[in-house]
Subunit: 165 residues, 2 copies
DNA sequence: CTATGGCTTTGAGCGCGCGCGAACGCAAAC
DNA sequence: GTTTGCGTTCGCGCGCGCTCAAAGCCATAG
C-alpha cells in the first residue's frame, strides 16, 4: 500500500469539510504493512517515493540504513517510522535543510526536545498560513470560474480584475 | 501597498475559519492604487515581486509592456490586471508553462473560453487537493506537537509512529 | 547451462522550475 | 558629479531529486 493510497483514503475519510479525527491521523500512520527488514523497493512503495530518493535521504544524513550480506539496504521499523515522518514533513513543505537540522537534534538526545518542539510549532504556523493562502487563491479561482462567460454584464466586468482573461 | 499586505489584510478579514465573502475576494483585487502608467518598481511593489521577475514574465510572453521615450517600461491598467491574475495563479502553484498556455489562449480570442475554463477547473481541483493534503499534514504536526513530551506513557508512545523523533 | 531481465550497489553528473546576480550603459535628479 | 533608477544580456544558483554508467546477484526461461 503506497502512501499515496493512504493519503487518498484519508482524504476520502475526511471528506470535503469533515472534522479531522484521531482516527484519520492514525490511518495515515497505518503501519500494518510495516514489518521488520523491508527492502528499499518496499519502503519506496510504502512511501510513494522512488528508491533514488530514499538513497538521497540516506546520503543527506536523514536516516541510517543497515546492509545485508549482499550489501543491499535493510530498513528496520525505526528507519521506516523516521522516513514516514520525514516524507510527511517534506509533503507539507519543510525543506531538506530543516529536516537535516531536526534529525541532528533528534540524534543529539533528549536535551534538544524544546528546540524540536519550536521547529514543529513554527512549521505548524507555516502550514496554517499556506492553507489560508491557498484558500484565498481557491476562492479567487472559483470566483473567476463563476463569472467566466456567465453574466458578462458591465457590473460584473467592472468588478472582475481580469475581465479580459 | 504590496500584495503581501493585501494578503495579510485579507487573511485577517477571513480569520481562522471565517467564510469567504465576495468582499474578501474584492479586497484581493483592491485596485485603488492601480493607476494608468505604472513603473516597473510600482508594479513590483504592488505585487510583491521583484522587477526582475516582472521582466522575466514579460520575456516569457505572459504580458506585453509598452515603453516610454526613455525605453522604460510603462504598465497600463490592463497589464497590471493581467499580472495580478498571473501572480495569484503562481502563488497557488500554477506552473509557468500552464500560465503561458493560458495566456496564449487568451490572446487567441473568445473561441478559447471553454478551454480556459477547463484549465481553471482543473487548477481549482489541484488547489483543493493541496489544501486537503496540507490539512492532513497540519493535523499530523499538531498531533505530534500535542504528544511531544506530554504524556509519554506506553500507550501514546505505541500509537506515535515516530515516538523517537 | 547460458541468457535475459530485473533488482541492487556506488558515484558523478544532469535537469527542471523559477527566478536572481553581476556587469555594464544611459538618462534624469539631487 | 555622483547617485539613483532603469535598461539589457549572460550566466549562475538553489532545492530536489532523477539519470546514467558500470557492475554484481538472483530468478525464470529457453
Amino acid at each position: 500500500m503506497a502512501t499515496d493510497d493512504l493519503m487518498t483514503r484519508a482524504l476520502e475519510m475526511v471528506g470535503d469539510d469533515g472534522p479531522l479525527s484521531v482516527e484519520v491521523i492514525h490511518s495515515l500512520t497505518d503501519l500494518a504493512d510495516v514489518h521488520e527488514s523491508m527492502t528499499i523497493a518496499e519502503v519506496a512503495d510504502l512511501l510513494d517515493i522512488t528508491p533514488h530518493t530514499l538513497r538521497y535521504y540516506e546520503r543527506a544524513g536523514l536516516v541510517e540504513v543497515a546492509r545485508d550480506s549482499q550489501g543491499h539496504r535493510v530498513y528496520d521499523a525505526a528507519a521506516v517510522r523516521r522516513l514516514v515522518f520525514l516524507t510527511r514533513m517534506r509533503l507539507s513543505g519543510m525543506p531538506m535543510r530543516d529536516l537535516q537540522h531536526y534529525i541532528a537534534l533528534v540524534d543529539a538526545g533528549q536535551d534538544t526536545v524544546p528546540e524540536r518542539l519550536d521547529m514543529l510549532l513554527e512549521h505548524r504556523d507555516i502550514i496554517r498560513r499556506r492553507i489560508r493562502e491557498l484558500t484565498l487563491s481557491l476562492a479567487a479561482t472559483e470566483y473567476k470560474i463563476a463569472t467566466y462567460g456567465g453574466s458578462t454584464g458591465p457590473d460584473v466586468a467592472a468588478l472582475d480584475t481580469a475581465a479580459d482573461l
